[in-house]
């Protein structure tokens, strides 16, 4: 984030050569625990104009480190399609004309056969990235995607098809023996969690059973908060299609399915996934109750390199606009955008990728699409800072609602979601974790700003370490966090960081992200929920979540508290005192 802030001048076009693309491994990348294969990709987002940042698992980051590189800073633009090839201390730029137009799977196999090494790991873009779809993602392997904020679009704008890595250099640790022992302890700690054990069987889909039963799932875009009779997309349904689970580098949980579809559209399909979010994107949000449809759509977006959430969010929005008569078949190229219509879903995914007809309206994301369709369509768009929210309905859960609003990269659950709020944990226990008093009722506003603030710091540090959020306090309460991170950092690198120092680092990262956004013109006015959260009450669900909407006044109060916790003023701008405390001077940009 420091690099991002300092490499860019404010106001540049994210698709211009001036934009920078940063690929970074973490401090703990390569340790044998906590899913240490993660890599962070950052840039100015072409989707939102705010911080662009997406984290990706798989095997690329350790391979990049073993090839001798911790960070790549990519500027400018290639004249014609190229890919970057890094291996054992060397870096080359190779022509990629033959890869242009190829899907994300084929591109990776072609690079392997071109360079004659099956162990090569690549970050690639698909057709969506090439066609500058503003929510195109970056992918590696069969499953992993840096999905959000359009990092694939930035790669496409630089004519950069892929980054391939192969390394046989050592990753050294200061205390290797102790690190091994401690990593075993960490694995045991993670696997003791019921969440991790369930995730090793059904992946992140396990979350769906609880959230849907409760009534926390947005359905038909945002009309219902529960998918009625949605049992055919329960996680156990995956047992019909799966041939086993698959894990990222150094991960004992292995939370993704390897699945096969022998018959049906686009078959035969071998693919990996889907995540909980894809279940929402192609299931609940568009009111589709068929697991098979979700699996096909998941495969298609992965093949083309589209962000699953943004794609599903936009299609669900379009379907509601069609239902309400705001758009008609004239605009949709004759397509009847009916709820749950799988043919329309597949067609739209392809149209978006190719920027064809109605697809070209959706291909630039919410802001430009609203401008084209008309102002009245904005009310139905479930987005923050121009980015689609996932399929969770946060009306009954103020803490989760605050998290999507304050997220620096737009509506998102991976920046600050305090998911454990849903467990109704005892208040003294919550105080022990979060260091302040708060209600254990997830419907309450009391003390919840602290939860979001704390999670934001934790996730910022987790992403910097290159470990997986699912192996810290996200869905599991007794998971490694500050103290464990501190010990791992010490054993791996010899550096000593206390819990409070790590929290300061998290604060510094998040505050720089905030400063980046402020420099681009974002402020408190952009930390706002879609109107529907305040106006429409949840129509169904368990009695305790039914008939609830967000209370505007209480929500604004919560936002004030949240700013105070970060040391930002009423408008969400970091105060001089905070900047001094964190050692961030108001530096001129582009100093590097």
């Amino acid at each position: 984030m420091y690099l991002l802030y300092n490499h860019l001048l404010p106001g540049i076009d994210p698709l211009s050569p001036e934009n920078v693309l940063l690929i970074g491994a973490g401090l703990l990348t390569g340790i044998p625990a906590l899913g240490s294969g993660r890599c962070d990709i950052a840039s100015k987002s072409p989707l939102t104009g705010a911080v662009g940042d997406s984290n990706i698992g798989g095997f690329f980051a350790p391979e990049m480190r073993m090839a001798g590189f911790d960070h790549l800073v990519i500027k400018g633009k290639a004249e014609k399609p190229v890919y970057i090839w890094i291996h054992d201390g060397e870096i080359e730029i190779i022509e990629a004309r033959h890869l242009w137009g190829k899907d994300t799977f084929k591109t990776q196999s072609l690079i392997r056969s071109d360079l004659g090494d099956e162990e090569i790991k690549s970050l690639v873009i698909g057709k969506a990235g090439e066609n500058l779809i503003r929510f195109a993602n970056v992918r590696t392997g069969m499953k992993n995607s840096a999905g959000r904020t359009g990092m694939g679009c930035v790669m496409g704008s630089k004519n950069l098809k892929a980054i391939a890595a192969r390394g046989t250099m050592d990753i050294e640790f200061i205390h290797p023996e102790q690190l091994l022992d401690y990593c075993k302890e960490m694995i045991d700690m993670v696997m003791k969690n019921r969440y991790s054990r369930a995730a090793s069987k059904w992946g992140t889909l396990v979350i769906y059973s609880t959230t849907n039963t409760t009534g926390l799932i947005r359905t038909r875009n945002f009309q219902l908060n529960q998918l009625d009779q949605g049992w055919d997309i329960e996680p156990e349904e995956m047992d019909k299609y799966t041939i086993g689970m698959s894990g990222c580098y150094g991960c004992p949980v292995s939370c993704r399915h390897r699945y096969v579809l022998k018959e049906g559209p686009f078959s035969p399909i071998f693919a990996e996934g889907p995540e909980y979010t894809s279940l929402g994107a192609f299931g609940t949000m568009i009111d589709c109750k068929k697991m098979e449809t979700i699996l096909v759509a998941n495969h298609l977006v992965n093949k083309y390199g589209l962000d699953t959430l943004e794609t599903g969010g936009l299609i669900a929005w379009a379907m509601e606009l069609y239902e309400k008569g705001i758009i008609t078949e004239k605009v949709t190229d004759g397509l009847k955008l009916e709820w749950g219509n799988e043919k329309v879903l597949y067609e739209l995914i392809q149209k978006i990728t190719q920027r064809e007809g109605f697809g070209s309206i959706l291909a630039d994301g919410f802001k430009p699409a609203i401008a084209k369709i008309g102002k009245e369509s904005e009310y139905y768009a479930i987005k923050v800072k121009g980015m689609s929210n996932l399929h969770s309905d946060e009306r009954p859960t103020p803490s989760l609602a605050l998290g999507i609003v304050t997220s620096t990269r737009g509506a998102d659950h991976l920046r600050g979601r305090p998911a454990i709020d849903l467990y109704g944990l005892p208040e003294d226990f919550l105080e022990e974790i979060y260091g302040g008093s708060m209600s254990s009722d997830y419907r309450s506003y009391k003390g919840k700003s602290r939860m979001v603030w704390w999670q934001e710091l934790l996730y910022a540090v987790t992403d910097s370490l290159g470990t997986c959020k699912f192996q810290t306090v996200f869905l599991a309460v007794h998971a490694p966090k500050w103290d464990e991170f501190s010990k791992l950092i010490h054993l791996a690198s010899g550096m000593q960081y206390s819990r409070s120092q790590l929290m300061d680092i998290g604060e510094r990262i998040y505050t720089i992200e905030r400063m980046f956004n402020i420099r681009e013109g974002f402020s408190r006015k952009d930390d706002i929920l879609p109107e529907r959260y305040f106006k429409e009450a949840t129509p169904i669900g368990l009695p305790r979540v039914k008939g609830i909407k967000i209370d505007r006044e209480k929500f604004e109060e919560m936002l004030d508290e949240y700013y105070t916790l970060h040391g930002w003023d009423k408008n969400g701008v970091p105060t001089e005192q905070t900047l001094q405390k964190l050692g961030i001077q108001r530096e001129k940009s582009s100093i590097i």
Binding site: S109, T168, E172, G247
Partner: protein, 162 residues
């Protein structure tokens, strides 16, 4: 009874923790290219097969070694390379039909020694694709797995619906 490092590819999730801990334990650095075990993958088909020395009963490596550098540890059952005798001719690497013996970039021969009877890869393999178990247990397990598939057929034939 001596235990055997048993590989069950169906359970492997391809996370490569085994490779990572093997290199840290033996070489004190994280570097799968210096590990004694390797997961061979066909990513596009979802196939992951861990490949590691099987400590053969009639080891070809021992037969072809011109220096007689290989010998069996009677306690653990592992075939060990005597570094003082090894001249690095790599005949063992060439002839092993399983790719069980490797060589690293420093020309060092890499071969599984079962970590002196307590293989670390097994300890870190949460899905249980790697196990260190009695030979008898392997037979029974494989037969039960095979019988399980047969029993499904039998149930259908006999129309037992339990």
């Amino acid at each position: 009874m001596q235990k055997i490092l048993f590989v069950d590819p169906e359970k492997c999730t391809g996370c490569r923790l085994c490779e990572n801990v093997c290199s840290i334990f033996h070489e004190k650095v994280s570097n799968p290219s210096r590990a004694r075990i390797h997961i061979v993958k066909w990513e596009n088909a979802g196939l992951y097969i861990p490949m590691v020395c099987q400590q053969c009963d009639n080891p070809i490596c021992e037969t072809v070694c011109p220096m007689g550098a290989l010998s069996r540890d009677e306690k653990t059952g592992a075939l060990l390379i005597n570094d003082e005798l090894c001249v690095g001719c790599k005949l063992c690497v060439m002839f092993c039909p399983l790719g069980g013996i490797g060589i690293d970039k420093n020309r060092k021969i890499l071969k599984c020694d079962l970590c002196s009877g307590d293989p670390l890869c097994v300890k870190f393999c949460i899905p249980g694709a790697l196990q260190f178990i009695d030979a008898n247990a392997i037979n029974l397990r494989k037969r039960r797995q095979a019988a399980g598939k047969l029993s499904d057929l039998m149930k259908k034939l006999l129309d037992i619906s339990i």
